[in-house]
Every structure is written in C-alpha cells, then in structure tokens.
C-alpha cells in the first residue's frame, strides 16, 4: 500500500485561446501517463486543446495567513483602476 502513484495537477487550455486553467488532479507514475490520464479524466467532451501536467509536489502555494500582507496593499490603490479618473464627456470614449 505504500507504493502510491504520486499526485499531479492538471491544467487545460479551453477552445477559445484562454489561459491554461487548473481543472483538478490525478495520480500517475510518470509524466507520460499523467498526460494520458488527464486526457481521459478531464477532456472527455472536447474541454480543451492543450494539457499541462505538473507534479503537485513542485507547486509552491501561498499560505492562507499570508492573505493580508500579500493582497491587502492593493485595496487602497484605487488609482490603479481606470474608473478612478473622471474624463469629460466632450472628450469621447477613452
């Protein structure tokens, strides 16, 4: 029972040229079989045109406790959004 296949994360690019998106994970002994399993498990209905598989152990994730320091500084930088600026109607679309 100790010989479990390692875990892989699966990313798929959909039909319309969007980024690869994380769709789930699976177990496989190596990259080649991870790819085949990903195809069977996650693209049975034309969900994608490209697959990435990444060993889960290779992913570094942010910790929930880092949420504050990582993301809160963006909250008070409203000037980064176009809606912060009033453009006179006479100028037209900008």
């Amino acid at each position: 029972m100790s010989n479990e296949w390692p875990l892989w994360e699966v990313f798929i690019r959909g039909q319309h040229g969007l980024n690869h998106r994380h769709v789930g994970s699976l177990h496989a002994p190596d990259a080649e079989l991870a790819m085949r399993h990903a195809r069977d498990v996650y693209t049975r209905r034309n969900e994608g045109v490209s697959i990435w598989v990444v060993p889960s152990a290779q992913i570094t994730a942010s910790a929930p406790s880092d949420k504050g320091p990582l993301f809160e500084p963006a909250n008070d930088k409203v000037y980064r959004h176009p809606t912060f600026y009033d453009i006179p109607d006479e100028v037209g679309h900008m």
């Binding site: 029972m1 875990l7 699976l26 002994p29 079989l33 498990v41 049975r44 929930p64």
Partner: protein, 329 residues
Amino acid sequence: MYAQMVKSEAANDDPALLAAFQARIDAGERIEPKDWMPDAYRKTLIRQIGQHAHSEIVGQLPEGNWITRAPTLERKAILLAKVQDEAGHGLYLYCAAETLGVTRDDLTEQLLSGRMKYSSIFNYPTLTWADIGAVGWLVDGAAIMNQVPLQRTSFGPYARAMVRICKEESFHQRQGYDLITKMAQGTAEQKAMAQDALNRFWYPSLMMFGPSDKDSVHSTQSMAWKIKINTNDELRQKFVDQTVPQAKYLGLTVPDENLKWNDDKDGWDFSEPDWNEFYDVLKGNGPCNTDRLSARQKAWSDGAWFRDGLMAHAKKAEARRVAAKVAAE
C-alpha cells in the same frame, strides 16, 4: 443521495475559532484545504466525500454488467461512455477528499475492508436490459437531485468536483429515460420488462436519500456547515414529484397504492420505503453486497503488480535521466 447516513463528528475546538469559521460559512465563503477548519468538519467531509467517491466507483459494476450484452453498437457505446464518466466522477471526488489529508490508498483500503460505505442502491442487481434504463432514469435522477445543491457546498474542492459532475449527469439520466422509453413503447414483453424494472428500482431509489428526517441524526451539524443543503425528505419529495409524471408518460405504473396527488402540499403523497430493508442492506445483507465488494477487492489485488511495475519503471527511467544529465555535465 450517494452519501447516506454520514456520521457527523462533534466539534470540540476553541469556541472563538469555531465562531469565526461558522461566520465564514454563513457569509457564503468557500473553505479551502489550507484554511483552518474544525477537526470534526474535516473528518465528516472525508467520510462524506469518500462515501460519495466509492459510490461512483462501485456504481460502475451494475451497469458494467451489461456492456458486453447491449442490444446495439450505439447502445454499447453510450453505456461505455456513461460508465467511464462514473469512473471520472469517482476520481474527481477522491482528489477532493485527498485535499483534506487522507491518502487515496487509505480511502481504497477503507472501502475494501468495509469500514467505509457506498450507496445502498448499488447492492441491487441489474437483471434485464430494462434495468439499465431504470438505473439512468431513477438512480442518476436521484443522484442529480442531491448533487445539484451540493455545487454550493462550503468546501471548495468538493463544490468544484460537483460542478464538473453535474455537467455530465444530465446525459446519464436522459440516456436512461430514452432507453426505457424504447422498451415501454416496444412489444408487450419489452413493456413488461420496463414495468418490472420500475417495480424493483422504485423503493431502492427512494432509499438513496437516506432515512426520514425524524430519524436522521446527523443532519443538523452538516446543514450548519453547508455540507448538506437539503433534508432527506425534501429531496425525496422533489424526486417523487419529478418522476411520477415521467412514469405516466411511459404508461408505466409506480408500484405504490398510496400514491395520491395532494393539492395542499402541491405534491404527491407516497409510501415510505421499507427502512428495515435499507438498514439491512447497509449492514451488508443486500442481494449484491458480497459480489460488489469482492469485485473491487479482486480488481485491486489483480492490479497490484501492474501499478507497482509502472512505478518501478518510472523510478528507473528517472534515475537514468538524472545519471545521463550528470554524465553530460
């Protein structure tokens, strides 16, 4: 419901942490694997998602039984695709459970040793081809009733697995109804098979939602945690209301003398299934419990050399790759 009678744990964590956790759930936030969660929430979810996953996997057996005997090539291709989807559902759910810290092998081992359950429905046999129609129509129909609300469950990976699953389930139910329609509109003998399938699968399907609310001991905590969204009786009523007209359309009779439209509740009155039978099947005494478990045990032990062989090959190939890289440097 694929997860029946999931025992919930009592939470005994720091009250302040518990309150903050409950507030997140009440606010509709999703709980993610690395977030703090009460130990009882984690354990209950592992049990529920695990039981759900096992049901998808064991659920392949009654239908797989007919793949080689499907009456046409088209029906065979459809059934194969349906059963393959169920394997996929099992895999999505196992992965969701694994994010809670349990391993796949551990889950498998608990199924094979009988410590974890799967839905009682899969302990009934599929005796005729019409049963395959009844399974898609009724069993997948009942599963959908339960799975649609679970797309809003509080645990992120579980909710996302449910979204994928729900997208695929509608095909399952429709192919079943389509199949049984052909039977019901066929020869007298075929119609009798369709009726017989409904007779045998009706009450076991009603049992899928679990015991009546008054006997359902684990619901309150699970509903507060939003890992259960509706009560068993609510979902059962919804299922009956949806299914009765579908049976009528087929010219089939629901095997219940007490079935009667009730204007006041705007729904059907119906007989409860035999709960003694339900508990008996859960205990392991259904018609197919032994077959189902031994089929899973056989698949697991017969596949061991293959799983190990692939892993040994992968390790060797990796060692060779590393050695070649070192030599080149």
